[in-house]
């Protein structure tokens, strides 16, 4: 603030000092003095009634750590606050308090000061320029050229021992076939000269050697090649043959084992089947025995029960009893039936007779009502027997057409009775059958009734 030489006084220090001076001044001048660098105390606002007020409340400040906290220090985790001794706090103003060092007031600079500042600034600039000029610089570009700043990153090359290699191939063109050499016999030059030798010019044996060597060598070489080829083939086939033998042996073993296995399996299968059959037969035999025993037991009392059943069924019968039952009794019953039928018929006849008589009488009485009336009640109280007895001879004539006036006497008597016996009379009328039988039967029926 004031100068680089002055020991740095953190502004905080200004705060900590109880500002007694201020205390005295504050009530008078309401706004904070402009000398104060930072008027930040709202309490400065004058409250004359209050005795005093602190600009800032006195508090003990924690010790300033010697070293800055690391960047990643945990802010929230509060370490134990350490208070320092005021006397040894570097922030406390030292020195004389009677001559307070006052921060110089920064008034707007006077024009003189401004000018001086400007000059100082110019001088600094000039100094700088001079310094720069003295520094060695690159030469100016040649005419027509320009220096350009370039970064060489892009053009960096890695230095290494290995040389970069690139493979390149090159091939000649395919050969052209050599055309057949033209037949050429050069022209004859020179003269023909002949010579004759006494002995031999060359030693045949010596001269012939290399030629022979070549010839025979080539032949033998060719022969060797062929023989080698054949030998190679023969070796191959021999090797194959040996392998084939081994393979055949193994194959034969496999097949033998297969055959053995097949035989064992078949044998097993056969024995198993035999055994199964045997078991089956055993079972059958056991069942047969059981069945036989059971059947015997079951049929043990067959005969007595059979005879019992037959006897109960009535197959054994006494012939006489049977005879009586089958013939005599039915006959008897039929005869009885006939008798009864006769009797019944007789009764019917009688009923019809009575009815007719009564009807005739009714007719008669209805035609002669006054004359017959006293007779009727006089005769009525008579027991029914009398009319019946009286009419006995008359019914014999009754079968004849009932129009006769004779039975008129009997009619009114019958009138009362015929109402009750109306129905049998009608029946009797219907059953007008031959007289003889009816007569006898009627007699019988009358007899029976009377009894």
């Amino acid at each position: 603030m004031r100068g680089a030489l002055a020991p740095p006084r953190p502004r905080v220090a200004v705060e900590t000092v109880p500002r007694c001076a201020r205390l005295l001044r504050v009530p008078q001048s309401a706004p904070a003095a402009p000398a104060m660098p930072r008027p930040r105390d709202p309490e400065v606002a004058a409250v004359p009634a209050v005795l005093y007020s602190y600009c800032s409340l006195p508090r003990t400040l924690p010790a300033r750590p010697k070293y800055r906290p690391p960047l990643d220090a945990a802010e929230p985790g509060k370490e134990p606050v350490r208070y320092s001794n005021l006397m040894y706090d570097p922030r406390v103003v030292r020195g004389n308090t009677y001559a307070l060092e006052v921060v110089p007031v920064s008034t707007p600079p006077t024009p003189f000061e401004i000018q001086r500042q400007k000059e100082a600034w110019k001088r600094a600039l000039a100094r700088k320029r001079a310094k720069e000029q003295m520094r060695p610089k690159a030469p100016e570009p040649v005419e027509g050229r320009e220096h350009v700043q370039v970064q060489t990153e892009l053009y960096l090359e890695e230095i290494s021992d290995r040389v970069i290699e690139v493979d390149v191939e090159c091939q000649t063109d395919a050969f052209l076939d050599r055309p057949p050499s033209p037949f050429f016999v050069p022209a004859k030059t020179g003269k023909d000269v002949a010579t004759q030798l006494a002995g031999e010019l060359f030693d045949f044996d010596i001269e012939v050697k290399p030629i022979l060597e070549v010839l025979i060598g080539k032949t033998v070489e060719q022969a060797l090649l062929e023989v080698m080829e054949e030998e190679e083939l023969a070796q191959l086939w021999a090797h194959q043959r040996a392998y084939a033998e081994l393979r055949n042996a193994e194959l034969a073993e496999v097949q033998r084992l297969e055959e053995q296995d097949r035989r064992y399996r078949e044998e097993k299968e056969r024995r198993r089947r035999q055994h199964m059959q045997m078991l089956k037969k055993q079972k059958e035999t056991a069942e047969k025995i059981a069945a036989q025993a059971f059947a015997k037991h079951y049929l043990a009392d067959l005969i007595p029960s059979v005879f019992n059943n037959l006897r109960e069924g009535g197959f054994f019968y006494d012939p006489i009893e049977r005879d009586i039952e089958t013939e005599f009794l039915p006959w008897l019953m039929t005869e009885v039936e006939e008798e009864l039928e006769g009797k019944v018929l007789a009764r019917i006849m009688l009923d019809s007779l009575i009815r007719t008589v009564v009807e005739n009488r009714l007719e008669a009485f209805s035609r002669q009502p006054p004359s017959d009336q006293p007779e009727a009640p006089a005769e009525e109280p008579q027991p029914p027997e009398e009319p019946q007895a009286a009419e006995e001879p008359q019914p014999t004539e009754e079968p004849h057409p009932p129009d006769e006036p004779k039975p008129r006497d009997a009619e009114p008597q019958m009138a009362g009775e015929t109402d009750a016996a109306d129905q049998p009379v009608t029946e009797k009328e219907e059953t007008d059958q031959p007289v003889t039988e009816q007569q006898s039967s009627q007699r019988m029926s009358f007899q029976l009734e009377l009894e």
Partner: protein, 352 residues
């Protein structure tokens, strides 16, 4: 001291002018080989030329080149086989002969075998079976035999329906070719036997078992072995062939013995085969064969004896000869040891 007149051209000195004759070690029957990679394409083109001589010369050169498997591979890539297939039915016998020879040499290499299968050469070769020239037929059969050693090749031959043809050829071809046919049949029979059985191969093979040539006998026995690996083949073999096989066990040639033992081994798997083998008296020769150290037939003999030991009568006989098997237990070969152990187990097995 003969002072002879030397004519101008016959002295040993080199002349200045280029001679009219071709250099002495150039084969005029072969086409010149172009340099490097151009060789085979050029030959391929020459094969298609209308001139017979060019074709023949190209074929000769190709024949030589094909011994190297790299050339085979390149030739297959170039599609030489198509041209060769066309040339198979050429009317000139040399062309045919050389073509078949080229194919035969190709089949000695694995690359060639696979290439031939892929290009379906087998069916094309089938037409050459009746070729009048012997060497063509021989080469054809060589191709078939080598092809059949490969499973896919055998399958190809089966698919082409060649088995009946081959069996019929077996009856009246040359001896050499018969051996080749027997080889082909053996290999094809390993895959499938039904076609051959239908063509009545067993009868034909039975005849061959008593052929005079050793190779024929051994190959015929091997073919019967391969038939015997199949169940339906076993039935046929058991019926007729076992006595002959047993007699072959005492043959002079070890190859024949080995093949016969193998055939017996498979035939004895079925019960009726066992009975007939036992009845034909197979045990003594088999014991002899099993006793010889590192013989070709040892393993098969031990196995055949194991089969026979499943019968009670066989067990009885073999119980007396257990020491042979004990001897085999000490054999360095693992397979023989294992076989001997199994044999001892089977011989000593009791039903209770």
């Amino acid at each position: 001291s003969g002072q002879e007149l030397w004519s101008g051209k016959q002295d040993g000195m080199a002349h200045a002018h280029i001679s009219a004759h071709l250099p002495p070690n150039i084969d005029p029957t072969k086409a010149p080989v172009a340099f490097g990679r151009r060789a085979l394409p050029k030959l391929n083109e020459e094969l298609q030329s209308p001139e017979l001589l060019t074709q023949q010369r190209a074929l000769m050169t190709l024949c030589d080149l094909v011994h190297d498997p790299q050339n085979v591979y390149q030739a297959l890539e170039l599609g030489v086989l198509d041209n060769l297939k066309t040339l198979l039915v050429h009317q000139d016998s040399t062309v045919r002969q050389k073509t078949t020879e080229i194919l035969y040499i190709m089949t000695t290499h694995s690359v060639g075998r696979h290439g031939l299968i892929q290009n379906g050469v087998i069916s094309a070769l089938a037409e050459l079976l009746d070729d009048p020239v012997d060497i063509c037929r021989k080469n054809t059969h060589l191709v078939f035999e080598y092809m059949s050693k490969l499973t896919e090749g055998a399958v190809g031959i089966l698919h082409a329906g060649l088995i009946p043809l081959l069996v019929s050829k077996l009856k009246n071809e040359l001896e050499e070719i018969q051996e080749l046919i027997l080889g082909t049949l053996s290999n094809c029979l390993r895959v499938e036997a039904s076609e051959a059985l239908a063509a009545d191969a067993v009868t034909v093979l039975k005849e061959k078992l008593t052929h005079s040539s050793v190779a024929t006998r051994s190959k015929a026995a091997w073919a019967i072995l391969e038939i015997g690996t199949h169940p339906e083949g076993k039935n046929e073999v058991c019926e007729e062939v076992i006595p002959v096989l047993v007699s072959l066990l005492e043959d002079t040639d070890p190859e024949v013995q080995a093949s016969a033992t193998g055939a017996l081994m498979f035939a004895a798997i079925k019960p009726q085969g066992r009975f007939s083998a036992l009845g034909a008296g197979a045990i003594p020769p088999l014991l002899k064969l099993a006793a010889e150290e590192s013989g070709k037939a040892q393993l098969s003999a031990i196995k055949a004896l194991t089969m026979l030991a499943e019968l009670p009568k066989g067990r009885k006989t073999l119980l007396n000869h257990l020491d042979t098997f004990q001897q085999c237990l000490k054999d360095p070969s693992k397979a023989v040891k294992r076989a001997a152990k199994t044999a001892i187990n089977v011989i000593q097995w009791k039903p209770y």
